[in-house]
């Protein structure tokens, strides 16, 4: 190595400062130009934005499905869509919202924000992160591409057997559904592993366990839930597709299989799934409530313990989805009790947020207003949840619109309202510009009124006996008025999202400049520039408190000694975050994209012939070897 190269090789962040350091680091951590550069990027921020935009596109698609269904149900005896299409619509709506929007959108925020909040330069295993995004994208495109080509699953988002078996549903719809599960769960599991390792090992020096932001704690618990829950649905959907394609008998009661086995495996995933979708919402709420109350969250320790309790309890509830399947009474009683028990840690969280607001000086900006909407709607959904946990009530209203009302209150209240809050809150970090506040408040009014008008009447419809998943109803039932009201509300609610989309587009181009920390928030992402540089931070911060940006004065403690021209980051110890290793973070690579592509071809091919796995595996293996093989001798040092 020439002396000049050696000097460049050895330059540390302590040797430089200001603009030169920023420019050199930005070059080291940057993304290449052109299509190849874009497909090779390993920057967690770019991939996080792609995750979010893809998830929002699916939200729009799933929302349009919902609107078509509401138009159909707006009046009795309607023939806007027929029964067959209606089955496809509610299947695609549920599947899209749960697997292609609900789970990935939480990951999008985790991928973008967690590395910034823990003060590191990239997520752990950044190439796996890139791979996971492409796998998710291909899975979503496969499902919707199939839909466009009239290969349409129509057996519900949970694909119950025997309806989903080959005997009752020939065609490829359920196979596309099952394979989409494999795609999205591979992606979700990969991201979870990355988040766990980023949080455990890549926190900035000094960020001990009790200084981890609540947002990050929440995403850690969220990731662990995914790690233990998602294998269940992957296993179940693989068993289903094998029953359909190669003649296994897992769910065939005539050959020793069992129908309820599907339900057990599905809901062992399916109930934690509710928390997989909901916990990111609580992460947003914790961050936003603290910032706009101008004080740290009240009860940090009970909040963390509640999160962990929710993580454990979420695995003890699944059977309450199966109360009408004729369970032993003791089993039903146990799952009733555990379903009620989980209201306790959720309640603790709600009380801590309210106490924070109570003791603080709340600033009513759009993010906080949406959080207040969340309190109202989520608590209402939680209360109907406690009602449903009781077997006699559940038996009465099972498969009625009461249940539809309940879970939309929980999921939309628990996830979408905080999500909109999060969009308004972090938009300035991502784009450098603020979203329009006035439009934000109009949006809230539309969303809140629209949502409650759409979904509150469904409680009543359910109590009046209107079943779920019917494409129409006779006028004599007397459900017409409430349905019309619900449909009108749904249109308003949908319009609120179009308003947000418009606000995002306009604000990205001409919104007010935000600066680094427009809300005067406490956590580290606001110490980075807006939008953040590829390296996130020019100097890795040294953490001495739970609210680093509030507690530090002009004196900023930082870590020194990382190389400037190599992708180095600090690996720290798990509990005390003592610096331990200068680990090299992988550079951009096209191989994750190619690996995802090869995997997608093999998975989609397997729907048509099992040999696709046999022939696809060696190809995937070769691509993986190319991905991991060191390209230079320096990579080994």
């Amino acid at each position: 190595m020439s002396p000049a190269a050696e000097e460049r090789h050895e330059t540390r962040d302590t040797d430089l400062g200001g603009e030169e350091l920023r420019a050199r680091l930005s070059k080291t951590w940057g993304t290449g130009r052109g299509l190849i550069g874009a497909l090779s990027t390993v920057d967690h921020k770019i991939i996080g934005i792609r995750y979010a935009m893809t998830a929002f596109a699916f939200l729009l698609a799933g929302g349009i499905m919902a609107i078509i269904m509401r138009l159909q149900l707006a009046r009795p005896d309607s023939h806007l869509v027929d029964a067959e299409l209606y089955n496809q619509l509610f299947t695609m709506h549920g599947t899209t919202m749960m697997f292609l929007f609900g789970v990935p959108v939480g990951e999008a925020f985790a991928v973008y924000l967690v590395p910034l909040m823990v003060g590191t330069r990239n997520i752990a295993f950044p190439r796996l992160n890139a791979f996971s995004y492409y796998v998710y994208l291909f899975g979503g495109l496969m499902l919707w591409g199939g839909f466009a080509l009239s290969i349409r699953p129509d057996v519900g988002w949970f694909s119950y057997v025997p309806l989903a078996s080959l005997d009752f549903t020939p065609g490829k719809g359920p196979d596309y559904w099952a394979q989409m599960i494999t795609f999205t769960e591979v992606a979700a599991l990969a991201v979870s592993v990355e988040i766990v390792v980023t949080v455990l090992k890549q926190r900035a020096p000094g960020m001990t366990l009790d200084r981890i932001p609540l947002f990050v704690w929440t995403m850690l618990v969220h990731s662990f839930i995914i790690i233990f829950a998602m294998p269940a649905v992957m296993l179940a959907s693989s068993m289903l597709i094998m029953d359909r394609l190669v003649g296994t008998q897992f769910f065939n009661a005539d050959a020793g299989g069992d129908l309820l086995l599907w339900q057990h495996l599905f809901w062992f995933f399916g109930h934690p799934e509710v928390y997989i979708i909901f916990l990111p919402g609580t992460a947003f709420v914790s961050a936003i409530v603290a910032t706009f109350s101008r004080r740290p969250i009240f009860g940090y320790l009970p909040m963390v313990l509640s999160l962990i309790a929710i993580g454990f309890l979420s695995f003890g509830l699944w059977v309450h989805h199966m109360f009408v399947t004729g369970l032993p009474e003791v089993g039903a009683a146990f799952f009733t009790a555990s379903s009620m028990a989980i209201a306790i840690p959720n309640g603790v969280q709600i009380f801590c947020w309210i106490a924070t607001l109570w003791d603080g000086k709340p600033v009513l900006k759009t993010p906080l207003i949406f959080v207040l909407g969340f309190f109202f709607i989520f608590v209402a959904g939680g209360l109907s949840g406690v009602m449903l946990a009781s077997v006699p009530i559940d038996t009465q209203v099972h498969d009625t619109y009461f249940v539809v009302a309940h879970f939309h209150y929980v999921l939309i209240g628990g996830t979408l309202f905080p999500l909109v809050a999060a969009v308004y809150y972090w938009f300035p970090k991502v784009t450098g510009r603020l979203m329009d506040e006035r439009v934000g408040k109009w949006q809230f009014a539309l969303a809140f009124i629209g949502f409650n008008t759409a979904f509150f009447p469904m409680h009543l419809l359910g109590l009046h006996g209107m079943p779920r998943r019917v494409y129409t109803y006779p006028a004599e039932m007397g459900w017409g008025g409430l349905n019309l009201l619900a449909s009108a509300g749904a249109l308003l609610f949908f319009a609120s999202f179009l308003l947000m989309l418009w606000n995002m587009v306009v604000s990205a181009r001409s919104g007010a400049f935000a600066g680094d920390n427009p809300w005067d928030a406490e956590t580290l992402e606001w110490a980075a520039s807006s939008p953040p540089q590829p390296q996130n931070f020019d100097r890795i911060p040294y953490i001495t408190s739970r609210s680093p940006l509030w507690d530090q004065g002009d004196d900023k403690a930082v870590v020194g000694g990382l190389k400037v021209d190599e992708r180095e980051l600090v690996v720290t110890s798990i509990t005390e975050a003592r610096p331990d290793i200068r680990e090299e973070s992988p550079a951009p690579s096209i191989w994750p994209f190619l690996a995802a592509f090869a995997t997608a071809v093999a998975f989609i091919g397997s729907i048509y012939t099992p040999w696709a796995i046999t022939w696809g595996s060696p190809v995937v293996a070769i691509v993986l070897v190319a991905w991991f093989w060191p390209k230079t001798i320096e990579e080994n040092v």
Partner: protein, 198 residues
Amino acid sequence: MVRSVIDVSGLPTYAFGSRVTPWWGTLSFCLLEGTGFALGIAGYLYLAVTNTHWTKDAVHLNLVWSALFTIVLVVSALPNFLIRRAAMRESLRSVRVLLLVMSAVGLVLVGLRVMEFSALPVRWSDNAYGSFVWLLLGLHGVHVLTDVADTLVLTVLMFTRHGTGKRFSDAEDNAFYWYFVVLSWLPLYAVLYWLPRL
């Protein structure tokens, strides 16, 4: 005012075991794959309890090939242990020799697993019991196959100019994962081969 309070320039660029990120990544994958195995076994047991024809369906599996497989697999933990140790000492010669040993052992195990499949008295399509036997054996087989493939690539890698520094940490990580392949087999072996005989 920016003030450096810690200097990390003297820290190593790689280490072993739980100090490095890949170890935690591997552990996380062991957790999620272990959950998959546990749920697979749970499904098998669920049918064993609920299906009235189970005792008739659950034909006994051939003990010869599986016993050989289990013995070789358990014994492989020893060279695996030695690899971890040699890797942590960064002894290139020992790591190379032991990786060759592990590659050979791995290929033998793949062969034994193929024999296990060919000796199965039940097909996956015969009944749900057969489906589960093929599923669980296959699921574990995939783990054996992928780690053997990984070991082969690593063996080649250690014989090239890349066989230095951080690659010892990779070798250690690969050995760590092999323990999971060994340990996850034991409950599967008990359930598949011995439970129906009780």
